[in-house]
Structures are given as structure tokens and as C-alpha cells.
């Protein structure tokens, strides 16, 4: 039973990384909104960059989630 409890705790600890990811994604979109507000004509260029940054940051969240799944289900 201790192993199951430790697994649940470990999975919970593994997703603490999501705090940083939340800050990162918030940063990306705040910068995106600011830049579009300052220069609306640059929207097309910065939008692609913003989405790319979002996907790269989100990947970190998914790495953490993957570790949590590995701990829980294997």
C-alpha cells in the first residue's frame, strides 16, 4: 500500500512543473498582446512566433504530465 501512496504522491510532485509552464505561457501571450497592440500591422508575423513559443512551452508541461502518467500507470 505504501508503494501506491508513494506513486500518487510522486505523480502529484511531478506536475509541479506546470506552475512554471503557466507563468511561461502567460508571459508569451502578454508579450503577444502587447506587441500587436503597439503595432497591429505586425500581427501576422508575431502571431506565428507566439504560437510557436506557446507550443514549445506547452511541451514542457506535457513532459511533466508524461512523467506523472509513467509513475501512475507503469
Amino acid at each position: 500500500m505504501e508503494v501506491a501512496a508513494a506513486k500518487a504522491l510522486g505523480a502529484g510532485i511531478a506536475v509541479i512543473a506546470l506552475a512554471g509552464v503557466g507563468i511561461g505561457i502567460g508571459n508569451i501571450f502578454s508579450a503577444l498582446v502587447t506587441s500587436v497592440a503597439r503595432n497591429p500591422s505586425a500581427r501576422d508575423q508575431v502571431f506565428g512566433l507566439g504560437i510557436l513559443g506557446f507550443a514549445l512551452t506547452e511541451a514542457v508541461a506535457l513532459f511533466a504530465l508524461l512523467i506523472a502518467f509513467l509513475i501512475l500507470f507503469t
Partner: protein, 251 residues
């Protein structure tokens, strides 16, 4: 209700099993292979029937085919430069293979082949081998200067070179895990919520009414998953372009 009293089986949907009867069984032709074939046929069909009318003012299907063609071509030439035209067929194929895999997986009873690390890592390994071969062919031995940027202090070489080598070698890992983890996480999330809805609805009349809210959330999540499906295909293609840019121009 079916799921009542059962544990949530979130990973069962990724299990491979042979299809097409005895013939499929003998060559281990699984759902993943089947959906790869379907994805290929759909892509060919989209382009064939999209390009066939050759109308000056395109219809819907032709507009879709032209839009995707021009979009990927623009991505290639923007990211890689004029040399990008040479890599356009590769990036286009890659984009559509991943996109069709992600989108087909959103259909009920369908199988998401991009949710298997074997598939995504094979794609990422192809990309990285191509990038290395292209870089070696264009630059020869000069390619290895990629791992030590010009103007960096010589003293830092023992630090910079391992870091650059590790970051180069971790590209296929991050490229494959990004796609695979996105797909797995999305489908697991949908499955967990869907099972929860069924469990709640089976718990009596109060639960039946309460189950409307997670059901609505699940509908919204499916919309989000369609966005993710497209986004991940786009990110996969654009990262391939960025790596190819590094290979062609070295920094």
C-alpha cells in the same frame, strides 16, 4: 450504466490489435497501419480532387488544396530561404501525415497513430538524419563548426561544445515527445472526462442532471483538441523547417 463501479480505463484506447481478419493477423496489420493508409489516401484524394477542376475561381475543395500548398510553400521559403523549395515536398508530406493522423484520431472509434512514440520518433529520426545529411553535403567538415559558434572565447570550448552537442542530439527526442505527449494527454483527458460523465449519470437522478456540466466541458475540450491537432502538425512542420535552416545556413 456501463462504467459504473469500474476504474477509469484511460490508456485502453491506445492498445494495438490486428485488423482485417486472418490476413491482417498474419502480417500484424494493426489499426495504426490501417489509419496511416487512410491518412495517405485522404491526402492524395484532397490534392487530386482539389486540383482537378483547375478553376480560375476555386471552389471549396480547390481553395483548401491551394491554401495548404501555398501555406506550406511559404513556410518553407520564409524559414529556410530560397533553398527551401527543394525541401517543400518533404515538409508537405510530413505536415499532412501528422495532421491527418491527429484529425483522424478525433473521429469516434478511430485510432490516433501519432499517439505512439514509435511512430513519432520514427518521423523525428527521419527529420534529424535528413538535416544532418543535408548539412554534411552542403558544408562538409565545416558542419562541425556548428557546435562552436564564431567569436566565442576559446576558453569556453569545453563548456560550449558539449552543450551544443547535447542540444543537437536532444532535438529528435523533444520533437517526437512533444507530438506524442500532446496526443496522449489530450485523448486521456477526454477519456477521463467522458468516463466521469457516464459514472455521474449512473449515480441517480441528481447525478444525471449534474452530469450535464462535465459533458459540456468535454464538448469544449473536443474543440480544443481539434486546435491542438492542427497546432501540433504546424509546429512539427515549422520545427523541421527551422532545423533545415540551421543545416543549410549554419546559424
Amino acid at each position: 450504466m456501463a462504467a459504473e463501479g469500474q476504474a477509469i480505463d484511460a490508456l485502453g484506447q491506445f492498445k494495438l490489435s490486428p485488423v482485417l481478419g486472418a490476413l491482417g493477423h498474419s502480417v500484424n496489420f494493426t489499426q495504426a497501419n490501417l489509419f496511416m493508409v487512410v491518412a495517405g489516401l485522404l491526402t492524395i484524394g484532397l490534392l487530386y480532387f482539389g486540383a482537378r477542376p483547375r478553376a480560375i475561381v476555386p471552389g471549396r475543395l480547390q481553395a483548401l488544396a491551394e491554401l495548404s500548398y501555398e501555406g506550406i510553400l511559404k513556410m518553407c521559403t520564409d524559414q529556410i530561404g530560397p533553398e527551401g523549395r527543394a525541401f517543400f515536398p518533404f515538409v508537405f508530406t510530413l505536415f499532412f501525415f501528422v495532421l491527418m493522423g491527429n484529425l483522424l484520431g478525433m473521429m469516434p472509434y478511430a485510432f490516433t497513430y501519432t499517439s505512439h512514440i514509435a511512430v513519432t520518433f520514427a518521423l523525428a529520426a527521419t527529420v534529424i538524419v535528413l538535416v544532418t545529411v543535408v548539412a554534411l553535403r552542403i558544408h562538409g567538415m565545416h558542419f562541425f563548426s556548428y557546435f562552436f559558434p564564431d567569436g566565442a572565447p576559446k576558453l569556453l570550448a569545453p563548456l560550449i561544445i558539449p552543450v551544443e552537442v547535447i542540444s543537437y542530439l536532444s532535438r529528435p527526442v523533444s520533437l517526437s515527445i512533444r507530438l506524442f505527449a500532446n496526443m496522449v494527454a489530450g485523448h486521456v483527458m477526454l477519456k477521463v472526462f467522458a468516463t466521469f460523465v457516464v459514472m455521474l449519470a449512473g449515480a441517480g437522478s441528481v447525478g444525471f442532471v449534474a452530469a450535464v456540466f462535465p459533458l459540456g466541458l468535454n464538448v469544449a475540450l473536443i474543440g480544443f483538441e481539434f486546435l491542438v491537432a492542427f497546432l501540433q502538425a504546424y509546429v512539427f512542420a515549422i520545427l523541421t523547417c527551422i532545423y533545415l535552416h540551421d543545416a543549410v545556413h549554419l546559424h
